[in-house]
């Protein structure tokens, strides 16, 4: 309830966006980490506690100009109590297990118009003297605001989106079920990016275990202990990204004829598997079930002591999917391990391939402009060339 209230109340959202440590507890609005000066002329941190008046799903005008303070009796920089604003003296029991030492009353002529004005006014009454002693202290610390299970897929408020005010645009990405097939180099970077979007459920499919060489092509940094444990890739990545978001589903299996029907429920699928017969099976099933997908693949070679090659990103939607077959965009042949297939992959190439795939996904959902509607993308590293083809508007 509280993060919804915040997102629907501009005054609360502004407090969060500007970095105040906000909490809503027992129908009260708290701002933690407020610097003040104690009677001993030391800087300490306290919390402001205000009633919270709401109307429907958002705040309305503050019901009173007064609020409570959790901490010692605050003073100015010389150790003299701020008697001009101190009203009641405690201890005063508040809801949510809090005990205030005093209450403040400082009323502007027409009262506080909103909770941003109210809380920041009192913050400034206290922290000015604290800053006189230590200029660095500040109530603003951009602490995370935890969310409840049913409030958000993220475990803490996505203030990046709110600060940039792209919440409405971001909502376009809130698909119910998205799958990543293959959590190798490219798949793991795809996960890293889409985990930060408001997709409800992310499903990861991969039957492999994480091995040492995988660590050099994955985001983040696995430890020796983690690698020694040889976890299933899907378990490792679920655990790595769970601190950020909920609803990461680990499926420790490869997709084959016996389980491909699981993909029918997906709203979108990212394919990041090495080429083979499975890829054709998956694509045919996705097409039959009208599921849009993006396939990724790279080929790198060594020549003259440097690496060259091409990264390929191919999008397919129910509105446009013949290009894969008509133009042979995707190979389904499995190359045997030989001199042609040293399986050269490099983390930045995996990441670039993943980035191109995620950008294209966001374009299809209207998050980014998509003026040309390209469905086939290639990046050739030697010439730094990005090439677009298979345009849906072609007649």
């Amino acid at each position: 309830m509280s993060s919804t209230l915040v997102s629907r109340s501009p005054d609360l959202q502004r407090l969060v966006d500007e970095g105040y440590q906000v909490e809503i507890r027992a129908s009260q609005l708290l701002v933690h980490h407020v610097p003040y000066v104690t009677a001993a002329r030391a800087v300490a941190y306290g919390a402001l506690v205000s009633e919270l008046t709401t109307e429907g799903a958002s705040t309305s005008r503050p019901g009173t100009h007064e609020l409570y303070f959790v901490g010692e009796i605050p003073c100015d920089q010389h150790g003299r109590e701020l008697s001009k604003i101190i009203n009641q003296r405690g201890p005063i029991a508040l809801g949510g297990g809090l005990t205030a030492s005093c209450s403040f009353s400082s009323k502007p002529v027409d009262g506080y118009p909103n909770y941003y004005a109210k809380m920041t006014s009192y913050v400034n009454m206290l922290q000015g003297d604290a800053k006189a002693i230590d200029p660095i202290v500040d109530a603003v610390n951009f602490a995370p605001l935890a969310t409840a299970e049913d409030e958000s897929v993220f475990r803490y408020l996505d203030s990046a989106t709110s600060r940039a005010r792209i919440g409405a645009i971001s909502e376009r990405l809130a698909l119910t079920n998205v799958a990543i097939i293959g959590l190798g180099g490219t798949g793991s970077y795809i996960l890293d990016l889409i985990a930060k979007t408001p997709i409800e459920h992310i499903h990861m499919f991969d039957g492999d275990r994480l091995k040492t060489h995988n660590a050099f092509r994955a985001p983040g940094a696995a430890s020796i202990e983690e690698l020694t444990a040889a976890p299933l890739k899907v378990d490792y990545f679920r655990d790595k990204y769970s601190p950020l978001r909920r609803n990461l589903h680990a499926h420790p299996e490869f997709i084959h004829a016996g389980n491909v029907q699981m993909l029918a429920e997906m709203n979108f699928v990212f394919l990041a598997v090495d080429t083979g017969p499975a890829k054709k099976l998956i694509m045919e099933a996705l097409e039959a079930d009208d599921v849009p997908f993006i396939d990724t693949g790279m080929g790198l070679y060594e020549a003259g002591g440097a690496l060259g090659g091409i990264l390929r990103t191919t999008a397919s939607t129910p509105a446009y999917r013949r290009h894969i077959w008509d133009n042979n965009r995707v190979s389904f042949a499995r190359l045997e391990d030989d001199e042609y297939d040293r399986n050269i992959q490099v983390a930045d190439m995996n990441a670039m391939n993943a980035v191109l795939a995620v950008i294209k996904w966001k374009k299809l959902l209207g998050f980014y402009q998509d003026t040309e509607n390209e469905h086939s993308i290639s990046y050739t590293v030697g010439g730094n060339d990005l090439l677009n083809e298979d345009f849906r508007n072609d007649t």
Partner: protein
């Protein structure tokens, strides 16, 4: 379908064209280079019967950059048109 490409045998004929395929210079006799041609230059032995390849090029005669699929071709400059031919199958 054009003739298969000739590898450079040192004769250096004035009507040859020099292209680069996967980092290696190659001499071809025709100004028109096909998908099949560059694939067979890059992979003299087909790595798999049903393999298809991503082919991109830059600095062609009429075109700064582009790609080829099976059956397509492009006109190359006298020297410098560069091709990448890979099996884009790794993830």
């Amino acid at each position: 379908m054009s003739d298969e490409a000739q590898s450079d045998d040192g004769r250096g004929r004035s009507d040859d064209f020099e292209i680069v395929v996967n980092g290696s210079p190659v001499t071809v006799e025709s100004e028109t280079v096909t998908y099949e041609q560059v694939v067979s230059i890059a992979f003299p032995t087909p790595p798999a019967p049903d393999a298809t390849f991503s082919v991109t090029f830059r600095k062609a005669k009429h075109c700064e950059k582009g790609s080829l699929v099976a059956g397509q071709s492009v006109e190359v400059k006298k020297k410098g048109t560069t091709f990448d031919v890979v099996h884009t199958g790794k993830s």
